[in-house]
Subunit: 422 residues, 2 copies
């Protein structure tokens, strides 16, 4: 029998207990052993909970219990959780965690700390979708060329609504909060940070890149408005908050930002709160993984799958799936400035002679050429909105051009920009 | 170092050798060991091949070589391959196979034959998509409620063309043969048998069902015509060759047939030669897996992933992922007659009074009611085509009704029927 201790018994933790109990028969068949949750640790013992295992408010009750084989860490937070997991590993226990924030900062130290025990973390990325297993094992024959993910359900729900119903950002956000799809303080989701944590985890498996959230480009969806949506529809695009990892030569690009993607691409069809991850390998080509990225039961499905893997004794390979440097030459993280892609730009200007030529000049000076162009007049005829997409150019050039255009006297406010992912 | 012998060095076998050599560095990093193909066995040594490993035409050269750790079986066929694999297992070698036909007939005997060695068979279903790993490990916490797959690229290519371009079946088939997407004798693909083999493999992992191709409902796409396509478009459906495994109570339905599915469903968006598999688990909900289902490199990607797993020593669990009966009560295979779903029916009739009421009577006698209805006049006004979909009814009832309608004097030919999957 495998004994499990669970640190943090909230939504996901309760689902883990429920699945282990309610699906006991099929789990025992698959694992070849009984798996039993014997203790949960919570902050507040007085809170009313509908789960049926013994509870404690002292994490040491799990760490010091020699009969516990697997510690499931669902307490959240970064450094406290890291300390607890290290202690569990030091005690020789296997660990399963859904804590993407901890992994975004400490995954390499964790891989070091685990000497022979497995660390399962399938639940940390894209909830119920077994994307870590796919990347770590299913595609292990491939050099990974790119990973493009829609990995934040809140953002995808909001963007889908904006595309389909033409509602404005603020209105959708309020609705998402009422439905429980967005937090009271939504900045972690909407700002792209949640998606970035997940991207960093996947990038480690694919590339062995050791980067932290501070090291990469992260932009949220706060500035998307109905005119962006209009443009996207006009030219056959969807707008998605995309996490991108891409190998170009010896560099790896890691970035999170809204992107226009061709509506015909499979990943463009991932709508609502669902998640999707497209992975391109040098041998297999594109594969895509789709499913629920959040929710107690979906996330717990991944936690329990990790527990079963450990019970099956499948996980003797290193946590991130590699033992040596992954590429011939050590890969380095690509600087955001060097991103080379197409862009969509929206500029509100005073409607007078010479404006377009001044903007064109600035673009030309920065080696940017326009691909498609739309002009919309405002109601009172004093302002016009310019919407255009560019041919491929460097990120530092478009940033520079936007800054220069933004300080022109005829411009109403700093231009808005979205990257186009093709 | 792990030594690999490959039996059958055609398209997939050559790609396996190429990937093991060209991606050697990343594979060594991921496996923690060097993996080297040391011998290939082919039927005809005189044939010109562009691969760079020693070749033999005697399978015993691999079976009797004690230094070979992993035997890759790519020879094809059913019983001969089964004998070879059994011998390899008896010699203590691990086995990796892409042979879906052999597995469709002998997977349980193989699981018995393997005492402690792993048998990898990821490449046998849906080519480069790691669907076996997802089902066997990623979703192991779940009771599987259903699997719906588009797992034959030939059929999906043809149906997609018919939907998008309105071309007739025979024309598309010729084109697919010219492009190499269909065999000279296409009946194995087009008749649904290839997809059925794959379905049986997945159903074993999900349900522990031991069925052979003869035991299940298999229908091909030969009878789909442009009027079916017209109807599907009119009512928002796509037509796909679907493999379906579904648990209903203590029964499992296994079937392969063309189906109308709502165009908005994610699986309906799997177009062209691509494959897609949607799996619904009782805890995780729907997840979907998409990618190339055929081709040398994509299939070899899965073969090599299995080799790497074995080198990592990950696969000590039983081949199909379970050690005991999977469900509380032993599941049984559901009889095709008991399928309960919606149907689309096309009937060509003489255009005269009373026809519709006679057809309605027959449907009513068989407990079938109509959901939507379209009538198309033929050019010469002598015949009319009736297209309709039904509410849910039993397979045996619709079969019976069609037989009865088919012998009416006013009917031009046996009605055509497609199941609707919602």
């Amino acid at each position: 029998m495998i004994k499990v201790g669970i640190i943090g018994v909230g939504t996901v933790g309760s689902s883990v207990v429920k699945i282990l109990k309610e699906n006991r028969d099929i789990i025992t068949a698959r694992a070849g052993k009984q798996i039993t949750p014997i203790l949960g640790v919570v902050k507040n013992l007085d809170k009313n909970r509908s789960i049926n295992i013994p509870l404690s408010d002292d994490v040491d009750d799990i760490l010091n219990d020699e009969s516990i084989d697997i510690v499931v860490e669902l307490m959240g937070g970064i450094d406290d959780a890291f300390e607890v997991v290290k202690k569990a590993l030091a005690k020789g226990k296997a660990v399963v965690t859904a804590n993407k924030a901890m992994l975004a900062y400490h995954r390499y130290e964790l891989q070091q700390s685990a000497k022979r025990q497995p660390i399962g973390f399938e639940a940390s990325v894209a909830g119920g979708i077994p994307i870590i297993k796919a990347l770590r094992e299913g595609l292990s024959a491939n050099h990974i060329e790119s990973i493009k993910g829609i990995m934040n359900g809140t953002c995808n729900y909001m963007l889908t609504k904006m595309m389909n119903e033409g509602v404005e950002f603020d209105e959708i956000l309020k609705e998402a909060q009422e439905l429980g799809y967005a937090e009271a303080d939504p900045s972690f989701d909407i700002g792209g940070f949640d998606a970035a944590h997940k991207l960093l985890i996947l990038a480690s498996i694919a590339y062995g890149i050791d980067a932290k959230p501070e090291d990469i480009l992260i932009e949220g969806i706060e500035n998307i408005n109905s005119e962006d949506i209009f443009f996207a529809k006009e030219f056959g695009y969807s707008i998605k908050l995309l996490t991108i990892a891409k190998k170009i030569g010896n560099s790896v690009e890691l970035r999170v930002h809204p992107a226009l993607i061709n509506s015909n691409e499979m990943i463009a069809k991932v709508d609502g709160v669902m998640n999707g991850v497209s992975v391109v390998g040098d041998r297999v080509g594109e594969t895509m993984y789709y499913g629920p990225g959040a929710g107690g039961d979906a996330t717990a499905s991944a936690v329990v799958a990790d527990i079963i893997d450990i019970a099956r004794n499948d996980n003797s390979s290193p946590m991130l799936g590699f033992k040596k440097i992954l590429e011939n030459d050590m890969l380095k993280l690509k600087n955001s400035d060097e991103i080379f892609t197409k862009y969509y730009v929206r500029i509100e200007v005073k409607d007078k002679i010479g404006v377009l030529s001044q903007i064109s000049n600035i673009l030309g000076e920065n080696n940017i050429s326009i691909n498609s162009f739309l002009q919309k007049q405002s109601v009172d005829d004093k302002f016009a909105t310019l919407l255009f997409s560019t041919h491929q150019c460097f990120e530092k050039d478009i940033q520079n051009a936007i800054k220069k255009i933004g300080v022109c006297e005829f411009v109403k406010q700093l231009p808005a920009m979205i990257r186009i992912e093709e």
